[in-house]
């Protein structure tokens, strides 16, 4: 068996041993789709937020069919990929967030999940997000977005990951550029109810937020981040986000 393993190893060429003619690549836990939108991808007078323009129909579950409708029409699918090597090929040939025009968004979502609240995978979920003043963070945002993507595709956000990719906690990550700030978001499939309900899920969601704040963004666990144009790392369910201010519950780490 030793010999077999040896023979097999000699046939395997990773990108490290042969960057031009490698014959194996590293599969990601899930396949991913990168989407993009900006004012130049939008038709005129179309709303920017998904909720108002996105039709509430079962068609939602088939990305291809509903891509022609509502706001998804303005969001361009850039690429699908399912390996580490393809991710970096994409990364090294695309524009980083610091070079995007204002009001642009990258949405990196698991293949088959639409970057909209209405998708089955998102509708019971929520998001961790942070808003960062643009001037101070222009030198950092590209690395923050890279590390956010790496934690997503490497599947290291969730402290108790499932073995079933169709059920994994993270559904996607987003970077948004606005005139005054950047926003980074992590979307989750589930959102905890009020504090006393569901302590396990709450702890799992909070772990994602702490991992985001400390390992990905590089802040101290106890650091206060809020300020002019800046927010803490905070979680909100999509259902609460729809309410716009009315009794909105937030989790902050």
């Amino acid at each position: 068996q030793e010999v077999d393993m040896q023979a097999q190893a000699e046939n395997i060429r990773t990108v490290f041993s042969d960057p031009a003619n490698f014959n194996v690549k590293h599969p990601l836990f899930s396949a991913w789709t990168l989407w993009f939108d900006s004012p130049s991808t939008k038709g005129r007078n179309l709303p920017q937020t998904p909720i108002s323009a996105f039709p509430q129909t079962p068609v939602l579950q088939t990305p291809g069919a509903q891509a022609a409708q509502g706001w998804m029409e303005d969001i361009k699918r850039v690429i699908n990929f399912d390996s580490v090597e393809e991710f970096w090929g994409l990364y090294n040939n695309i524009i980083p967030p610091s070079q995007l025009p204002q009001k642009a968004n990258y949405y990196l979502f698991k293949e088959g999940i639409i970057p909209a609240w209405e998708d089955e995978a998102n509708k019971y979920g929520g998001k961790w997000s942070i808003q960062l003043p643009k001037d101070k963070n222009r030198p950092h945002v590209d690395r923050m977005w890279l590390f956010t993507m790496l934690a997503a595709i490497g599947e290291t956000f969730d402290p108790s990951p499932t073995n079933n990719p169709n059920n994994s906690l993270i559904t996607g990550v987003i970077v948004s550029t606005r005139p005054q700030f950047y926003r980074l978001s992590i979307w989750t499939r589930l959102a905890p109810g009020p504090a006393e309900e569901d302590p396990k899920l709450r702890e799992r969601i909070e772990s994602v937020g702490r991992h985001f704040k400390v390992q990905v963004l590089g802040y101290q666990e106890t650091q206060k981040l809020g300020g002019p144009l800046a927010t803490e790392v905070e979680f909100q369910s999509h259902k609460d986000s729809e309410k716009k201010g009315k009794s909105v519950r937030k989790i902050v780490v």
Binding site: A9, L28, F29, T41, E86, N92
Partner: protein, 100 residues
Amino acid sequence: GPLDLSAAKVSRQSSLSTARLIEDINTIKYPEGISSPKPELNENAKPGQFRYDRDFLLQFMGVCKEKPPNLPPLDAIGLEPIDPSALAMSRGGSRGGGHR
């Protein structure tokens, strides 16, 4: 899709397209200086479904420079840098001359 002339410059078929996905991460031997993914991330991994730590993933950054064959021309989807010269600088100079 639209005609992409950049594809014509690629003389051989891209390894990105032809390489097969690794099924058992433990059979992979990396050259000296390259670390394996943290083993605790893949203790119960199903074939072909792996989790990777950031340090492992970052090792590919300077190696995987080739544009994926299925990446559309960026300007065709409205994806254009606000300052192309700054972009070139942030990439560490001209194409092909990048640092490892």
